[in-house]
Symmetry: C2
Amino acid sequence: MDIEQANLEAVGRMMEARPVLTGMGRALDVIPGMREDLLLHAGPPITWERASGPMRGAITGALIYEGKAKSMEEAQRLVESGSVKLEPCHHHQAVGPMAGVTSASMSVYILENKTHGNKAFSNLNEGYGKVLRYGAYSEEVLERLRWLNGGMAATLGKAIELSGGIDIRALLAEALHMGDEGHNRNKAGSVLYTAKLAPFIAQAAPDSETAAKILKSLGDNALSVLNPVMACCKAMADAAHNVEGSTIVSTMARNGTDFGIRVSGLGERWFTAPVATPKGLYFPGFTEADASGDIGDSTITETAGIGGFAMASAPAIVTFVSGTPKDAINATLEMYEITIAEHKAFTIPQLDFRGSPTGIDIRKVVETNTTPRINTGIAHKEAGVGQVGAGLVRPPMEVFHEALMAFAEKYGF
Amino acid sequence: MDIEQANLEAVGRMMEARPVLTGMGRALDVIPGMREDLLLHAGPPITWERASGPMRGAITGALIYEGKAKSMEEAQRLVESGSVKLEPCHHHQAVGPMAGVTSASMSVYILENKTHGNKAFSNLNEGYGKVLRYGAYSEEVLERLRWLNGGMAATLGKAIELSGGIDIRALLAEALHMGDEGHNRNKAGSVLYTAKLAPFIAQAAPDSETAAKILKSLGDNALSVLNPVMACCKAMADAAHNVEGSTIVSTMARNGTDFGIRVSGLGERWFTAPVATPKGLYFPGFTEADASGDIGDSTITETAGIGGFAMASAPAIVTFVSGTPKDAINATLEMYEITIAEHKAFTIPQLDFRGSPTGIDIRKVVETNTTPRINTGIAHKEAGVGQVGAGLVRPPMEVFHEALMAFAEKYGF
């Protein structure tokens, strides 16, 4: 078995994947294995008992949204009794930012990888403030979810179909030339997304007021494209998964309690360890003492070679996550040390159009003692509060050690 | 008289100006001094005889558009006989890209400087290919002008009013953090502009098909915001004009034959010299031998501290105008040598958020023997062809020498 060859195959598939946003659908109808009694969540598997505050809040919100519970106590009973099951989004070709909780009746984006045929899914972005993904579940949060998953998704789905599909890889490549890194900074991507869909939203909406409302909500939300971007990266990472003999990381995800990775050549096994707390800038009135542990599937962006790996593209992001533009350049340069390729589609003008560092090799992480850099939002540690800041975080080194040992065991070297 | 004090006053006014796009109107109704028998054009004053190919083509197109001529010969007769007059846009608080020809019935953007009260105007952007501003005047060009100045302007004007006005200085500041320099690269600005107006276009349009058509044309045109941006810079530069004793450049403009500047402390007098030919990248099938001389009022962007002066913000622009991202950084660094301020509103992430070099001092240009750097489109030298490339150009040094001598004469030092 030739590891180098296997890794080139895996990273080649990751970079050649061309995920196109083709429509929307109800989670129950389109996500493989979705069921009425199932909630999908971010990160590796979790139980109620071990779940963080924001994860419990989001589970509660989703069960209230589905009409299955009225309070956190009822939600807890449903989950602990097994009447409602929890499974990772990642086990269902899906990803969700922060808590990532997705229930059967929610609407999801459908991404199709035109190169390899696999699909990926993600829910709609709720914008800022008190939102389900940060663990808030007040009536205001639920009201917004009803609109997003109802009227907005109906029009948006039609508009995407009318557009003939949106090539999210191409959109991301453009956004990286416009100061985004694709994870914490999706400002350019979100306005590109809004502008591309705008004519079709005007045509698809039942009336001009609905069109205006949707256009305003997409245009004002600098994260509106984050969820399709994450599903795009998921489709890329999945295309690179299950290459026999490959040491390339195909999943990085956090549930607020554990950080988990999966490796292309090691199948469905998760390697997990307790999450760290992000370092960054806090919103007025909050400090690190308020922060939840690292949470969310959005690390799929770093897995696919953008986000923290493409920091050099996004010098203005430092006003949001701390540091200087020089730190942003250095972040990307460091990530070349633990990756095996320079992305063919994602180039960085600030580095003379060098491809972004792509394809994390668990061997390089361990050899260089350098963990991946991750940009992230920071949730409040208690359920119901929401976002308190944004910053930088690293995975625990143990997961790479464990994965490497498992690899040695499986492949006997 | 204290020149330094006068210059600080001038550049202070330039930076404090806050031009807001408040609506649209017919040139005849809103531009001061506009008349039925008048055509406005880019750059300093010009005659038919001395006019370049693209300028003649645009004059012809505008007169056919107004129903005053049917051919270039007729257009020439009208202008040479004095039945139709030519005056610079700059004499009427207006600016226009490339040939900049604006006739009485055309629609123009209205920008109001909320700090000092002055207004500025610019026509609508036609997009790419065969367009009037590059000297093309075929039926396709005229048909597009009828739509732009008719149905599109009607809806756009209403949408701008519904929006409550768009702060173009704020939009530009955002775009400079998104890889634009505001002159040749207005990709981020144009999608921001489209996304901001989209909800109001949906509301203002007579029907959803018209809304879709306008949204598509704004979103697909990476220069759709160029004309409001130019009018924004014109309002800023005008606010800095006529400060007694100031050596700050308040106008740079080209008509395809002459490059002209005006200086804050020297009133309405133009200092002109023959234009250079831009160096840059040509579209397939064209070479420098096809290029017209430097043309357009868009140098108002460099006059106001963006465009070529903010190149460092826009590393990806080098794929369009030639050079490397390092050249882009150096271009901005060089411009600090001939300016007296760092812009308060326009900051450059790549230079640790340093303000862009603003306020060209004719004394510094002469002392350092360094002329301003200008990013520009390149027109074909013959009427009717259109754009053939994009690149970089510098003004002739003579105009700064002449202006400095005139300054010494007027102020007796």
